[in-house]
């Protein structure tokens, strides 16, 4: 009965529709961004309290062939979210999971979580997602546009996606779609893979080796065993 996203980067054109539509729906203001000292199309540089969705760019040249990978990053809505584990140790029910959809929701109770607690949430998240609003102290991230989903509408990013790179629906159907799509994509890109599909509700399909994507794209072997500071 729960929901999931399927994010097929083999179709993404990095149009930033998802990044902007999310902001407009949430009513967020802008960050100061720049090219001077930065020199990249990836702006804002990372997820932040005013951007639940940021398209990330990685470019490579391998044997005279250019590759440019796009990764529309967002919260994974983990099946068993470590951020909740960390939060529960500080403020009960600040982080909740919606029964119907499985959406991981940061409530306004998160404003009561201490700075250490917030850092712990950030560290526990394999994908480096939680962010804190410096003024309100609320910790926030993608909320799966829960009010839209409850009204039988698609999350904004999915609605606005031009090429169908973003899909959304019942988890078992989405998993089936993702796996079938992976087989198809592997015909052209043998290194294609799904990322952590059994543990997350935002399932990414990548076309190249994991190393050609941003640092926190997947739960890595080396981080699984790393010690946490």
């Amino acid at each position: 009965m729960s929901k999931s996203f399927f994010i097929d980067t083999s179709r993404c054109t990095a149009c930033r529709g998802c990044q902007v539509a999310c902001k407009e729906w949430q009513g967020f203001g802008p960050n100061r961004t720049k090219q001077l000292g930065w020199g990249s199309h990836q702006n804002p540089p990372d997820l932040n309290h005013l951007n639940y969705k940021v398209v990330k760019f990685t470019e490579f040249k391998i044997k005279d062939r250019v590759f440019w990978n796009f990764f529309p990053d967002q919260c994974r809505h983990c099946v068993e979210p470590p951020c909740k584990l960390a939060a529960d140790g500080h403020v009960k029910d600040a982080v909740v999971i919606d029964k119907e959809t499985g959406a991981v929701i940061f409530t306004e109770k998160t404003r009561k979580i201490s700075d250490e607690g917030f850092l712990m949430m950030k560290e526990y998240c394999p994908y480096n997602v939680p962010r804190r609003n410096p003024e309100t102290k609320i910790i926030n991230k993608c909320d799966m546009c829960l009010e839209r989903v409850e009204a039988n509408q698609l999350p904004m990013c999915v609605k606005t996606c031009i090429t169908g790179a973003m899909q959304f629906g019942e988890r078992d159907k989405i998993l089936a779609i993702a796996k079938a799509r992976l087989l198809k994509v592997q015909e052209e890109f043998p290194e294609a893979a799904l990322l952590d599909e059994e543990g997350v509700r935002a399932i990414y399909l990548i076309t190249h080796d994991r190393k050609m994507y941003p640092h926190f794209a997947a739960l890595d072997e080396h981080r699984k065993n790393a010690s946490l500071v």
């Binding site: 179709r11 407009e24 100061r32 001077l36 199309h41 470019e59 990978n69 952590d196 739960l219 010690s227």
Partner: protein, 1026 residues
Amino acid sequence: MKLTRRDLLKVTGAGAGAIALGSLGVSYLVTESYAKKLKTSGAKEVITSCPYCSVICQYIAHVKYGKVVSTEGDPMYPVSEGALCAKGSAMLSQINDNKRVLKPLYRAPFSDKWEVKDWDWMVKQTARRIKDTRDKYFKEKNAEGQVVNRCDEFFHAGSSQMSNEELAVHRQALAAMGVVNIDHQARVCHSSTVPALAQCFGRGAMTNHYIDIKNTDCALIIGSNAAEHHPMTFKWVLKAKEERGAKIIHVDPKFSRTSARSDFHVPLRSGTDIAFMGGMIKYILDNNKYFYDYVLNYTNASLIINSKYGFNNGLFSGYNPKTKLYDKSSWQYETDADGNVKTDKTLKNPRCVFQLLKKHYSRYDFNRVSSVTGVSQENLRKTYEAFAATGRPDKAGTIMYALGWTQHTVGVQYIRTGGIVQLLLGNIGIAGGGVNAMRGEPNVQGSTDHAMLYYSLPGYLYMPRANEPTLEDYNKHNTPTCKDPMSANWWQNKPKYMTSLLKGWYGKAATKENGFGYNWLPKLDQATAWDKGDNSFLFAWEDIYNGKIKGASIFGSNPAQSIPNANKTRKAMANLDFIYFGDIYHNETTDFWHGPGMNPKEIKTECFLFPAAHRAEKEGCVANSGRWILWHNEATAPRGESQPMGQIIIDIMNELVRLYKKEGGKFKEPIVNLDWYKKYDAEKIAKKVNGYYVSGPDKGKQLSSFTELKDDGSTVSLCWIYTGSFTEEGNMMKRRSHTQTPLEKNLGLFPKFSWVWPANRRILYNRASCDMNGQPYDPTRVVVKWQDGKWVGDTPDGGMPPMSQKGGKYPFIMQPEGLGRLFGPGLVDGPFPEHYEPAETPLTRHDFSGQLSNPCMKVLVSDHDKIAAPGDLRFPIVLTTYSMTEHWCSGSETRNHPALLEAEPQLYVEMSHELAKEKGIKNGDAIIVESARGRVEAAAMVTVRITPFKIQGRTVHLIGMPFAFGWTKKGCGDTTNRLTINAGDPNTTIYEAKACQVNIRKADMITELAIEGVTSEDEMTGGNHV
């Protein structure tokens, strides 16, 4: 529950790809709902159209208590299916933006600020200035003594942001005032598309449409970055790839977001696409990849050319170096004693078009093409093989292009190469084929249809010239004749369209005696030389610079940002006595008088800035690139005191009429006799654009087809190609039905969604998709089919029977000879495209001929229009310019959207690692880019996506820059057009924005990019912005 670090380590080590925390007793289920309240619940939904690219995604404006509270895509629009790119996703911010111009503003001479005035005062003052200027300078005759009845001292710019109805009234008003210096965005966007495609096929528009791209077997995306600038196209490109296994090829100087999603990318030096495509033509001919029957029967391959025709060392026969024009008489078809064109159906006669084509492109071998373009021979072969494979009857290839092709001194000829290739391969008139010109902002298709250009009248009629004093002269000059009974020669109907237009403009005052008002139209000078009779931006702005122009109107455009050689453009504006503007934002043009380097205390220009309503605040229609006419609705009343641009010109003209009636004045007839309006009513005007009977038994009835138009004054139509859009059955453009027959559904034709010009025909030239018996060459992609004595499917392109039957006609009905033109005798610079270098080039010679650049090109050279010599070592780097997904063109609108400026905040230069290393530049460094004309400051973006080219054995570097950043948004940079060149194509004077020569260096200190980055809410610099 507090966990220890050890607990967590234990857990994270356990899972093999997932985190299993259940074992630690963490609870996961809640019963309350944590969803926020849905802000759109209970809202009214109004459908309107995005104002950004020519896909024109329709979107839903959610309205509560008269205010737009949210926007999102309309799933019913078949082209977008509810999706929106970054710009479309930001519509909410734009509609509600408080930085919009919401009150009428006036800038007095020598003032440093805007003052708020009331609307009526603005209208009265503006009309007064127009009348005073017109009465002072109006000329009845030109220097040659011909009657011209015009006022050269006026200039008008804009706008492709106007709806069709606003354009219709504006064009009428400008003609009435006697304004001839008329131009707008189409000039710099796709003006070269119109004569190029018209020369090839008969109409100057995208031949297929956006959804049809899904039907292709091979998409050649060239001179375009479709995924970034026409983002919605990639929905259909990827469908073609996934559902048909289509090959996607991207040919463009820079590896972009389009290249990332294509099968392969072919980098080539900007300015060399004719060489590239010429090589493809040679490949197709040498390897017999052309569709023989199609070429023989549907093109002019078999027609024989005049014996005096020749081509030698880069010049065609008939060149006059003084006028820089050709005498085209030697390019015409050879005729027999009866005036019939001679043909050779064996295609062997050395002077038949087919053999001339072969001969012309025999020089375009792999070595020469590779050497000048920088494309490896392997990439040439790969591209040619893949695309030429679509020459089979059961294969379709499409060419998708945009400004990478249009914006050159050989722009028209670039596009002609596409037309020739597609005619050879039989890809015109078929599903998944075509030459798909992806146009710019909406409504540039409509603004071209409605002729906001100096040389046209609505419906692709020509503006009269000084040697056409009467309507009879005009009709004689402009109406083609053809003796071949198999040619429909549709333009023979021109007189009906011209008369119906004039009758629409002058109503009861238009009579046979005054040529239906023809005598009141201003006349252009004849184009007897490259610099005569050309009133486009290039020459008009030179006149402004020289103080020859006194008054201007600039609507919905930003020439001070978008026109090349911006230093000259901006300086020139200070010479104007007055300008009246209609716009939704302040921009570098409305506020030129306090821009960088300008001292308001020395600038006399009076400025009247009328607040224009947003598209979501008015109803009307706009045309997408696929010729779909889409109606948008009023979601919310115009904010503040803004009004539609249509109302602005209606008010001003009403005041002008009142003044001329009261005071008299110079040549008042065209003004006082206008069939004009009191209130801007889009529906009423749309009905008139469609046309109706004004006399006879059907008086007052809407027309249903342009076949009903007459030349006797009994019908009116403000644009004949739109006839059928608003009939007795109602507003066809408002239709939203998805009902399709299986044939239509297969192709995605959507014939009952909106209305398409002409005659709701979705794929142009579609009778060429069938053999001479009217049977489709490809039964799996049927567009039209002759069945039981009639055509079924799409509206046939000409309802006449197939060629093998009695009354059958050739499939290119708008051509005088009825055939697709491989040889195109109607263009200024040659019947065959030929490689010439851009006006500024890194080379001093090339292998195709001794003629370095286009012998007919229009270039201004002066103290204020400097150009670098070929191979000038001061400026060795090729600069190409382009747009971005996140900003629209000049950026004057999108820089005001916080989320868009956040995504792309500052001017950058994309350059190769090799060039960066040479110059000691690192990614993110401040750099200065310089050309012979000016300099800009930018941030370096060092990337693998740009590679140095090997040209004639040596390395030539190329860099790319967007042009969306202007000084009115503090700290983001200023216009790239300070660098670009005033050189234009000889057919349409479109600028060569895609290639000029520059140099770059690391900057010690810059001021135009704020080091800390920009805040999107920053107010404007300088002056007291009200």
